[in-house]
Subunit: 384 residues, 2 copies
């Protein structure tokens, strides 16, 4: 039977992080059952509390990534408050921060001191460029690393203005790698008792996400350009014009290509010398696209979707965010969950994509905390 | 002192996955010290072995995500080979697969049977739409979920053709959540002895990556559109035209906005009623952009980059993949590593963005295996 809580039940995270990269990491940990205690600056708190949209003065941006966490405001330049943080860390398993390198050392909470004082404490840092290298002190936000890290250069259309990835992949990407780092460190600590520091650079994470494009750059010696709406090395694998819009068809191997050719009434493609292998199809991608669109242009996206479905060829429409979020599959998978916040009223946010047989997947979440709302209870727990 | 291996040393992963989502998950696990044994179909192996570019006939695509793994070819419709897989699973910690739902059950390796037979074995599945819901049997590749999951609808420019994210975020995103799921399950097993199934849907993961956009959709009731090269709710936070190209400036809070205004010689913006808060700046984003570009258009990206650096305002150029991969910070962080493959010769691939104090971060990797290359050694280990 599925249990409440999650695989990280019993793990306590002290979270000094702000805005998105660190908070996304700790949100994932909270979703998996960890207790996350946000330590925020007094008065203003996490910067994200001031990012719109707002509902009754409370940031919905903040709500989305901080549901299920606790909050205590501490002035880390005040000796009394520093002592409270020490007490918190004494009982914690993981500390997460996304300050600029050197800030934690200045505050007296650098890895060296913490590791000596709390040898079981795992330290996770997510910074713009990491804790080493010539650019380590360079400040960064999502868009800076999206630009510097190369992903914008391969996203969009040849000759068109630059295109940002519509989601904050600079922050969320590093939040995901930070979560992997934190959990791998928990596994290691479980096996050996040793804690480690996890040093995540948003810039590094952009490179890691590029994976295939970096390989292609080093193989060819040429930086790949933007490819519009197609895959760089699999064909056909792109958005095609239909009579009333677009359909994505992804025929990723010979078998699927043959099914597609038959379903479109063009069995001759299967034996066409230009289309015999994926490599040949990729070399003749533009020509094949014209041939495919000549067929698809005669009917609607829905029509061709049904035909591709029946043929077993991976395909789909281009949904907007509303169509995606309201998709029956999203509902069936509990991917949209409720937050019943006393300030904002009922809100919907995205759920947890990690579905575990051993645990329940609840359809509601505890609201994001107001600044400092858990102070009294936390201090009492610490015996203060 | 940093040790060799990694936090997952001692963890054995049996990897039935193909192409990218599953292999990316197991690549991360291999990078973190796990032993990953690829189980491939005889003769053709993983589909990705046939994706270009090729060097001396070996796929560089395959190399990039399968370095450091082992390979054994097993025909999972053959009783003898099934018995070998059972033997492998007996000693494994994690099994990863990205077949369509139902395939593993048909082969006799579904979660129910495996959990009964190997109660400590963690089962990680990454499929297009997950193991439940009306669309569970729908086939998917990266582009299908990029389209259906909504990210393409917010990436690009108003009125322009659809834009694919330049990297395979449908696959890599789900690979990252799968890795988080696998490691959280290892933490849970370490604490309780219980193994769980991790059910990852590529479509769910796209929704999870949208996070902020989904929240905005439910707050406003309107699906957000593509925003070109700017952030939806932080201003100024976008790519601006300079005399010779673009610069990204991300002034994510009032203090940074004030620094930027001073550095651009426009201190009046700090007290301008339209620009007093991030929310007001976001309401007047188009107007502010014109004002900023009027200044930036008078000089080069490099010139303004230096001025923003000196002022401490997060900024950067838009690098192509080569500029990103050859960046001094990438070298300093060991983000480009060597694979010395006897077939392809020396190749460069992207390194591991998870830097751990407790472990070495080697600058080379073991090549991706040839199909079935580790058969004899693996069979010997199993006593077969």
């Amino acid at each position: 039977m599925a249990a409440s809580g999650g695989p990280l039940s019993g793990v306590t995270v002290v979270d000094l992080s702000r805005i998105l990269a660190g908070p996304y990491c700790t949100m994932m940990m909270a979703e998996l059952g960890a207790r996350v205690i946000k330590v925020e600056t007094p008065n203003s708190g996490d910067d994200a509390r001031h990012y719109g949209p707002f509902i009754n003065g409370k940031s919905a941006y903040f709500q989305s990534v901080n549901r299920g966490k606790e909050s205590i405001a501490l002035n880390l330049k005040d000796e009394g408050d520093k002592a409270i943080l020490d007490k918190l860390l004494e009982k914690a398993d993981v500390i997460v921060e996304n300050f600029r390198p050197g800030t934690m050392e200045k505050l007296g909470f650098g890895w060296e001191r913490l590791h000596e004082k709390f040898p079981k404490l795992i330290y996770v840092s997510a910074s713009g460029f990491g804790h080493s290298g010539p650019d380590m002190y360079r400040p960064a936000y999502d868009m800076v690393v999206q630009g510097m890290g190369g992903i914008m250069s391969i996203t969009g259309h040849e000759g068109a203005p630059p295109t940002r990835i519509g989601t904050s992949i600079g922050d969320i990407g590093s939040g995901l790698y930070a979560a992997i780092g934190a959990m791998s460190a928990l596994v290691h600590r479980g096996a050996t008792g040793e804690a480690t520091k996890v040093d995540i650079s948003m810039f590094d994470c952009q490179l890691a996400l590029l994976e295939n494009a970096i390989m292609r750059y080093f193989v060819s010696g040429t930086a790949p350009g933007p490819l519009g709406a197609r895959h760089p090395s699999i064909t056909p694998f792109e958005a095609f014009h239909t009579e009333d819009g677009y359909i994505i068809i992804a025929a990723g191997n010979d078998g699927l290509f043959h099914k597609m050719a038959d379903a479109l009434g063009r069995p001759g493609w299967k034996t066409d010398d230009r289309y015999l292998t994926n490599d040949l199809r990729s070399q003749h991608q533009e020509y094949l696209k014209v041939e495919i669109e000549a067929v698809l242009g005669t009917n609607t996206t829905a029509h061709w979707g049904k035909i591709m479905d029946d043929a077993g060829v991976p395909n789909g429409p281009i949904n907007n965010v509303g169509q995606a979020a309201e998709h029956p599959q999203a509902a069936a998978r509990n991917m949209i969950v409720d937050v019943d916040d006393p300030v904002t009223g009922a809100m919907k946010v995205v759920g947890n994509p990690i579905k575990l047989t051993a645990f329940e997947d609840p359809n509601s979440r505890v609201p994001a905390p107001n600044l400092d709302q858990d102070r009294e209870r936390i201090l009492k727990e610490l015996g203060l």
